[in-house]
Symmetry: D2
Subunit: 189 residues, 4 copies
């Protein structure tokens, strides 16, 4: 019997794998932790959807609800629990350009943190649509980096394009997390 | 301020890092997930101590207590939750030589599993001492493999030497886990 | 235009990729360094074929020719140029059990090295067939480890089965190399 | 005898390691492929020095000489031979923002390529000094990513500060190569 998976929780495996199965006699167990291109595209799509969701929540339920959602998004999609995330948001300015801490990321997305006085909540700008368009995807086996554009649409239908680099790793549960995120407005000459 | 760590839980980081610290102005945050040689030696020592502990527990408290301890040891020190561990114990025979499942590892260490009828509990053989002596340690950054001898001493003082290969990876909590373990009696010509 | 490859030499890429292609406008460049299961099976097959080839060469052309071939095989299939290979051959004995150096591997395969007086050339035993049967394959993205049996057939048709663990990594040229190799005769109870 | 190194060429190892050394009896061979923080700082310093060197060469010897030097720098310091580099230079514009090919990188640094008509040679702007100041360094074992500022000084003494992310990997020779490079002018509000 062949078990092919990226990550199957041990509890499920216990059901799938008959104890004492003479594995060498049959097809091998195959565990593959590689990141697939589809994993990467899915994580980008999830980031975009989360941005629009936080925007919508802010408009319909206020900043506190948007902040609560942003905390969930950050905890699920970024790797701050690994010690730091290398995050350069689109609109931050010195001396608080880089947001290596969870608090800095949260302040950027929803504002309202006196420690980051220039932040007014990037995710609260009424975004209605978000789409990633990759120039290149580099899968280094257990991590993947993408570079390209992200187009986000405002309430007025105006599209803002940013240049964006993301690096993803798989956590122990098999879920992609952002560990590097550099976003910048295009150079305009 | 410089934070140098392998893995610091986010909750602690929040205390250590003043929110909004102008990091680029001072010393950088440094996160280093590399495995150190001392990590590897520590994990080997812990494995040895666990083997002796299970032996002692079996002798003083019986098989059920030894089994409960062995489960804790396996769950803490091996990577079965990643899908499989490539484990070839010293004394197993075909068709159950390879123990890629947690159940197979547990049966090997403490026996008592009808699905593995030839297992009589390797960890219950009254081991009193265990020591690893490496021939080589290869640290590939985020994983480390060792090859060498492990000498285990029985109640009668007799030392059994095995040839052993271990591969360790760091889990999300920064703890080393065994993902490959090949143990064999020396060839005697 | 989408370039999908594991490793395409830069010289070829220069032809495939029109300079200045507006990549973000079309399908992304995708580089994937992950090891595929087929890469692993291919490397195992190549190891087996090399063993039989060295055997045949030794029989038909003598030890010197076999040694020259073995050197080519070791240089192409193992990772000694990375500093060491963790190699525990099937039939070595203490104090020369572990062959972390290229010289030690070569002596094991073809003998004739006074520094390894007990080696008589494992690859010169007249092997006619070799086949790997995996119990498990664990692909950690940019490395892969296999554990299982290898069955090798002698001139007399007798099959010897060994328990074998291999770890492979991809070198800069995209070729798999063995960096860990633990082989042992099955425990016979 | 203990051999401790990141990467020692096989030819040197052959001298250092006595053939047949009974390694398990003594201190183990230790190979460590992890990237050290000093490796990262050295690679950043080398990038800065290369930029100033190309500038100086352009001024004293002309564009052709600067181009020849830039080619050497790109071939030594970037990872284009791995299939692509995710490179977003500071001053490029759509539809040629991203320079995933060697030709695109070369055009950016020294211009003169009709396929990249808007490039006038970033490295030919008379830079006299270049310094990196990291906000964070994340070493993931066998790769390392930095994020922070790079300050480059022009002939007139004016300092331009950019926000920069670099990801480095070690090649087979043990040398760091840039595989991701995102550079952008600071957001000015």
């Amino acid at each position: 019997m062949s078990i092919r998976q990226s990550f199957i929780p041990a509890a499920i495996l216990a059901v799938l794998l008959p104890a004492g199965a003479a594995l060498a006699q049959s097809a091998p167990t195959v565990v593959n932790q590689s990141i697939a291109e589809s994993d990467v595209l899915g994580a980008q799509k999830a980031w975009c959807e989360a941005l629009v969701n936080i925007s919508r929540t802010g408009e319909t339920q206020g900043q506190a609800a948007a902040k609560a959602l942003a905390e969930k998004v950050i905890d699920a999609a970024y790797g701050y629990q690994m010690g730091a995330v290398l995050f350069k948001p689109t609109l931050t300015v010195a001396p608080q350009t880089f947001r290596t801490t969870r608090a800095g990321a949260l302040a950027y997305f929803v504002g309202g943190d006196q420690a980051f006085p220039k932040d007014n909540g990037f995710a609260l700008k009424g975004w209605t649509k978000c789409e990633a368009k990759n120039s290149a995807i580099f899968i280094a086996g257990d991590s993947a980096t993408t570079m390209g554009n992200v187009m986000i649409t405002g309430k007025d239908g105006k599209v803002t394009t940013v240049d964006k680099t993301w690096k993803f790793v798989k956590d122990d549960a098999g879920k992609l997390r952002i560990v590097v995120h550099h976003s910048s407005l295009p150079f305009t000459g």
